[in-house]
Structure formats: structure tokens, C-alpha cells
């Protein structure tokens, strides 16, 4: 049971890293990312391939996973900085699917759907086998703490305030000029680096990665974490990540109670449940469980709140 809890806590850690990263990107700058799985996969495969194929030591390979995320994040942000939220969503989703396609098809490199086996684990020869899971949890926790500190620092810095103030208003962002655009790209890239790091940590923990893990569904789990926690709120999303994992894992036990549920049906039910919950949460609490402190209402919602405008299609161009 302890072993199970430790492994669950480790997985929650990966979720927290991804959620912190998404919050940097979306919560801080309003830049939408649906390609989370892509950056996650990129970090995982970079680190894994460097250590498996080139035999690089992990202290080089794992940070390289983060760097790969950083570079890809910079590229995606540079290319799409002009796009509005919904179009950026499509481009990032495309990026994620592209990474998955490459991992699936280039099996001379990635072993394709069979999965890539990874032997190397950080500090494996320093600690005993019994204590290793705890050590790894500690490593992941340290990474989460580091990411949290960085995210909080960015949030509290004058830059963070500016970013949040302009995240709803692309026109203001343009007026403020290149400087702000550069900062937005930076913040997006840092978020992508977190995702890459999470991928590297994941790869060497499970020691077998395959493209099926990096489905776009990952993005929904992470979005769920951030939305539950309240966009822009770093404490809230950690709670959200824990909650999402609790739902994912909690439903596993349904199989023990209801015997016609096989593993496939269970996993389907799990996704259905998460999906319904996400929609219900958005419907009930558009600002999440723990709203971001000291921040004004989002403009578009304030308008919808008053319900004074008879704009049935929600284009909202009457104000």
C-alpha cells in the first residue's frame, strides 16, 4: 500500500509540474497550449534517446529534455505570437500530434508503438532498491518545488503583474510593444521547459515510454487541474492535480466492485467521468475552486455576468 501511495504521489508530481507549466503559459500570459503532451513527450524521448542510444550520463540527458522543451516552446511561441487564443490552441494541438506521429512512425529511432525501454535511472547505484521509489519521489518533489518557486517569482515580479493585466487584451499587449511580446515568449518557453523536464523525469521513472501515453487527453487532465485550481493560482492547481489523479485512480477500484467492468471499460469510464466533471466545473465555477487572489474579473466574463447584452451568439462585440 505504501509503495502504491508513493508511486501515486510521484505521478501527481508529474501532473503538478505540467500544471505549473500550463499555468505559467495560460494563467500568466493567456497563451493557450493544447500541445502539452507534445512537450512532455519531447522531454521524455530526448532524455531517453540520449541515454539509450548515445549512452549519455543522466545529469546531461535529463536536463537536455528540459532544454528540448525550451527550444520547442520558443519556436512555437515565436511562430504563433500573433495568433488569437483559439487559433493558437489549434497550432499547439497540432504540434503535440506531430510529436506523437514522429514517435509513432520513426520506429528505427523510437521503437514506435512497441515502446522504448530505458534502463538508466538517476542515483540508482547510490540508494537501495527498497528506498529508491521514495528517493525518486523526493527528486520529483524537488523539481516541483523548484518549478513552483520559479513560477511564483515570475508571478510576483512586476513583469508578472503586467502580463496578467494584459492577458485579456491583445490590443494593449501590442501597444506595450516588443518588450512585452518578448517576455510572453520567454514565459511560454519556460513553461515548455518545465514540461520537458516533467517528461524526462517520467521517462526514467516508468523506464518504458510509448506514443500511446502522449495522447491529447493529457492536455485535458492538465487543463482540468488548472481550471479546478483557478487559473493563475499556483497553490490551487497543485490541489487540482492531486484531485484529478485521485479521480483517475479512485475509479480503478470500481473494477473490484462491479465485475463486468474490464480494464478497457474502466479506462473509458474514467475519461467520461473526467470529461463530465470538467464541463460541470466550468459551468459552476468559471474561476476554479481557489480563485486567483487580488485580481479583477476577467473582462469577457464580467460582460456575460451582467447579462445585459442581448448577444445570443456570444460574440460580445456590443460593448
Amino acid at each position: 500500500m505504501t509503495a502504491y501511495l508513493v508511486s501515486m504521489a510521484t505521478f501527481v508530481g508529474f501532473f503538478m509540474l505540467l500544471a505549473l507549466a500550463l499555468n505559467l503559459q495560460w494563467g500568466m500570459t493567456g497563451m493557450v497550449n493544447f500541445g502539452i503532451a507534445g512537450f512532455y513527450a519531447l522531454g521524455a524521448y530526448t532524455s531517453a534517446l540520449l541515454s539509450v542510444k548515445l549512452g549519455l550520463p543522466l545529469w546531461l540527458a535529463m536536463p537536455a529534455g528540459a532544454v528540448a522543451g525550451l527550444l520547442a516552446g520558443t519556436l512555437v511561441a515565436l511562430l504563433s505570437i500573433r495568433l488569437s487564443g483559439d487559433f493558437l490552441a489549434i497550432v499547439t494541438l497540432g504540434f503535440g500530434e506531430f510529436v506523437r506521429l514522429v514517435a509513432l512512425n520513426e520506429d528505427w529511432l523510437t521503437e514506435g508503438p512497441r515502446g522504448l525501454k530505458i534502463d538508466a535511472r538517476p542515483f540508482a547505484d547510490v540508494f537501495s532498491r527498497e528506498s529508491y521509489p521514495l528517493v525518486y519521489l523526493g527528486l520529483v518533489a524537488a523539481a516541483v518545488a523548484l518549478a513552483f518557486l520559479v513560477a511564483e517569482r515570475i508571478r510576483r515580479a512586476p513583469l508578472g503583474r503586467t502580463l496578467r493585466a494584459i492577458r485579456e487584451d491583445a490590443v494593449v499587449a501590442e501597444v506595450l510593444g516588443k518588450n512585452v511580446l518578448l517576455h510572453r515568449i520567454t514565459v511560454f518557453a519556460i513553461g515548455a521547459a518545465f514540461m520537458g523536464a516533467a517528461g524526462a523525469l517520467y521517462a526514467h521513472y516508468v523506464q518504458n515510454i510509448s506514443p500511446q501515453v502522449f495522447m491529447p487527453m493529457v492536455a485535458i487532465f492538465i487543463w482540468m487541474s488548472v481550471i479546478v485550481g483557478g487559473p493563475g493560482n499556483n497553490w490551487g492547481l497543485m490541489l487540482g492535480a492531486g484531485l484529478v489523479m485521485a479521480i483517475l485512480e479512485g475509479t480503478r477500484f470500481l473494477g473490484d466492485v462491479i465485475d463486468w467492468l474490464d480494464a478497457e471499460k474502466l479506462s473509458a469510464i474514467r475519461v467520461i467521468l473526467i470529461g463530465i466533471l470538467l464541463i460541470v466545473i466550468i459551468r459552476l465555477r468559471p474561476r476554479g475552486v481557489m480563485p486567483e487572489p487580488r485580481f479583477r474579473y476577467r473582462g469577457s466574463r464580467a460582460a456575460a455576468d451582467g447579462s445585459s447584452v442581448n448577444d445570443v451568439t456570444g460574440r460580445g462585440d456590443t460593448t
Partner: protein, 287 residues
């Protein structure tokens, strides 16, 4: 060889044109990219499968069942999920639509598992014209897509409701002021689009195989076609479908066919960067 690829490309285009038109129509009155279309198409395919292989209806009957059923599902998804969220920002609606597509896909998995299926149909020998192979079904698919494009054009241009749809897409507040019941017009668009998504499910099931990811795998080419045509412009969507369909086939000349899906993404990315409003689309006026 190339002629064959062009024909294949057109068949491809015929498959994605109707849903691209539907997506464009939906976007034009609702102003958010609805990723639930994958779920709708999958639902259409499985409804038709249930009616055909399950209840023993002929395929055309099954197709009608799928169109009606998907229309109903799409309408319900608006009533239950999207209508209460109207006025929220497009990104929130996009998250919700992706969640919805996952829900539909996994409900299908729950009932039918992930097995690959096909309709109960006799095998057909392809026709040959000047060295080009094309099956009866593919010919029907081409004719059907052309008919749908023409029908949509006629409806939009020459019927009262069609004009109201265009007016609502253009300026919803003014349409309301002139007495157009825009809520009912939006519902009509959902229902019409739903029928097209249902039909697409059937046609995709004929051309490909029936599985829960059927709709998701078509989502990107459909979006590519709609964006290529200037999202919100049904005429552009038809043209976009032809370009995407042919581009997908022609890449087979240089890339392994498994990357076909990537073509859609590539087109979207390049297009959004070069022309953020699509080829025929008008830039939206923002205050």
C-alpha cells in the same frame, strides 16, 4: 500514377468537404472552434453501424438513422453543454468541446470497445477508366459531396432561413434587431451541421474503418480545410477541402503515408502564420 493520386485526393476531399462546410457554418454563428466534431462523426458512424449490422437496415436507411441521430446528439450537446456557456471566451468553449469529444468517443468505446468494424456490404470491384481505379462507392461519395455543397449553397443563398443564417453570422445583434429569431436560427445551424456530421460518419466508415478514433483522425484535415477556406466561410470550406484532400495524397509521393495527418497540421500552421483569416475569409472587425 499522379492522375490516380489526384483522383484519390478528390475522394479525400469529398469526405472532408461536408463536415468542413458544417464546421464553418457552426463557427460563423458561434465564433469558437468546435472540436466536438470528432465525437459527432464517430457517433454518426456507430449509429449507422448499429442500424446496419445490428438492426439489419440497408445502408441508405442506416445513413438516414445516423443523420437524424447525430442531429439530435448535436442539438442536445448545444442545449446541455454549450448554450449555458454562451458568451464565455472561445478558449473555455474549446476546452469544453475537446472534453465533449472525449466523452462521446469513450462512451462509444464503453459500448463497442476499440475493435475495428465495417459495414455489412458486398465487396465491389473497382471500375477502371484510362488506368485510374475508382470504386462505385467512391463515385457515389464524389457525387454526394458535390450535391451537399450545391444544396448548402442554394439554401444559404435562396431561402429565407439561409439568408437569416448569413445575416446572423454577419451581425447577430442587427439580425435580432430586424426581428430575426437568432436563437432559433442558431439551432437550425446546429441541426443541419449535425446531419452533415452524421453523414460524414457513415461515409468515413465506408471509406476507412469504423473505430472510436475515426472522428478524431478526421478532425485535423477538416479544420485545415475550414481554416484554409477562411473559417466561417462555407464556400471557402469546399475549396479548402479540395486543396487539403489533394495535398494529403500528393505528400504520399515524398513521405510515408502515415504522415498524411501531419499534412493537415502543416497546412494549418503555415496558413495561420501567413494569413490569419484564411484564404477567402474576411478579417473580423474588432473594436
Amino acid at each position: 500514377m499522379t492522375a490516380q493520386l489526384l483522383v484519390n485526393g478528390l475522394v479525400n476531399a469529398a469526405l472532408i468537404a461536408p463536415p468542413a462546410i458544417a464546421l464553418s457554418l457552426l463557427f460563423s454563428v458561434l465564433r469558437f472552434p468546435n472540436f466536438a466534431i470528432g465525437g459527432y462523426i464517430t457517433a454518426g458512424a456507430f449509429l449507422a453501424y448499429a442500424a446496419n449490422a445490428g438492426a439489419g437496415l440497408p445502408l441508405w436507411g442506416a445513413a438516414l438513422v445516423a443523420m437524424a441521430g447525430t442531429s439530435l446528439l448535436v442539438w442536445l450537446s448545444d442545449e446541455i453543454v454549450f448554450k449555458p456557456l454562451r458568451g464565455q471566451d472561445p478558449v473555455t468553449l474549446l476546452v469544453v468541446s475537446i472534453a465533449l469529444t472525449l466523452i462521446i468517443e469513450h462512451v462509444v468505446r464503453l459500448i463497442y470497445s476499440a475493435d475495428v468494424r465495417g459495414f455489412d456490404l458486398p465487396l465491389q470491384r473497382p471500375h477502371r477508366f484510362a488506368g485510374i481505379r475508382i470504386t462505385e462507392e467512391q463515385l457515389e461519395l464524389l457525387a454526394l459531396a458535390a450535391a451537399i455543397a450545391a444544396l448548402t449553397h442554394l439554401l444559404l443563398r435562396y431561402t429565407r432561413t439561409g439568408r437569416a443564417v448569413r445575416a446572423t453570422a454577419d451581425n447577430p445583434v442587427l439580425a435580432e434587431v430586424r426581428g430575426v429569431p437568432t436563437r432559433r436560427i442558431v439551432t437550425a445551424v446546429w441541426v443541419y451541421s449535425g446531419a452533415l456530421f452524421g453523414l460524414t460518419g457513415v461515409l468515413a466508415g465506408l471509406d476507412l474503418v469504423i473505430e472510436p478514433l475515426l472522428g478524431w483522425n478526421l478532425t485535423i484535415p477538416i479544420f485545415a480545410a475550414a481554416i484554409l477556406g477562411g473559417i466561417g466561410s462555407p464556400y471557402g470550406a469546399m475549396l479548402g477541402a479540395v486543396l487539403v484532400g489533394i495535398a494529403e495524397e500528393l505528400t504520399v509521393l515524398v513521405l510515408p503515408s502515415t504522415y498524411k495527418v501531419g499534412v493537415g497540421f502543416f497546412i494549418i500552421a503555415v496558413l495561420l502564420l501567413v494569413r490569419p483569416h484564411g484564404l477567402l475569409g474576411q478579417p473580423e472587425i474588432r473594436k
